[in-house]
Symmetry: C2
Subunit: 131 residues, 2 copies
């Protein structure tokens, strides 16, 4: 039986309040900044659990795991800003079908896929061209 602790709730809330993907360390720093006394290990544990239960999406960028709040039960992918982490949820139905087909064609079973699109969001694009 899973327990309800203020720590888990704080992590869930902070993640929901965050725009785009964040690292465990950044989320921990943010929580500490607001006076919360959650431990770093707890933030890692909570984020891993949330991701495992489908309440958060995760991706790895430059050796760091990044997380984002996510409505559970929906398989989707992300369009992510390389500069600020802002993310847009996108559906990729044609890609889903393509992935299944290409796996089957080569006799691979239990197919999986990793599909992420990166770029510079409108704001960061504007900032980059202004510079």
């Amino acid at each position: 039986m899973k327990r309800n602790t203020w720590q888990r709730e704080a992590v869930r809330d902070a993640l929901g309040r965050t725009e785009g993907f964040v690292s465990a360390q950044a989320l921990h720093a943010s929580l500490r900044g607001t006076g919360s006394e959650v431990g770093l290990a707890t933030v890692y544990r909570a984020l891993a659990d949330l991701a495992h239960e489908g309440e958060a999406d995760s991706l790895v960028q430059e050796g760091e795991s990044l997380y984002r709040a996510c409505t559970p039960g929906s398989h989707h992918h992300h369009l992510i800003c390389r500069n600020c982490g802002t993310a847009v949820e996108i559906s990729a139905d044609p890609v889903e079908a393509w992935a299944r087909q290409v796996a089957a064609e080569h006799g691979f079973t239990e197919p999986n896929h990793v599909v992420d699109v990166f770029g510079l969001c409108p704001e960061c694009s504007a900032a980059a061209s202004a510079r």
Copy 2:
């Protein structure tokens, strides 16, 4: 001016001889096993260079960077066995177009994408169902 050292050549050869993706550590162990005295740091440097120059593909799995020899100049993706690392190069033209389009639709510039398909290769599938 880039120098030709036997170490770089040894790494390039070992990578070319390897089926599927390998980690820097595994490649280093393999080289040491054949009597070569390359250093671990050199293997890391050589693999990073090869990947940067397009002579190798890389992906990150469970916190480890994996590399594979690759014909330069061709953008493609991989179908990778989760169990043994065997990889098949696949073209993903429909996905390329989809990625560009989805980025443009949301005003994202300089689009990039990460597309990997994982599964169990025929051999590992057979082994898994036999068990």
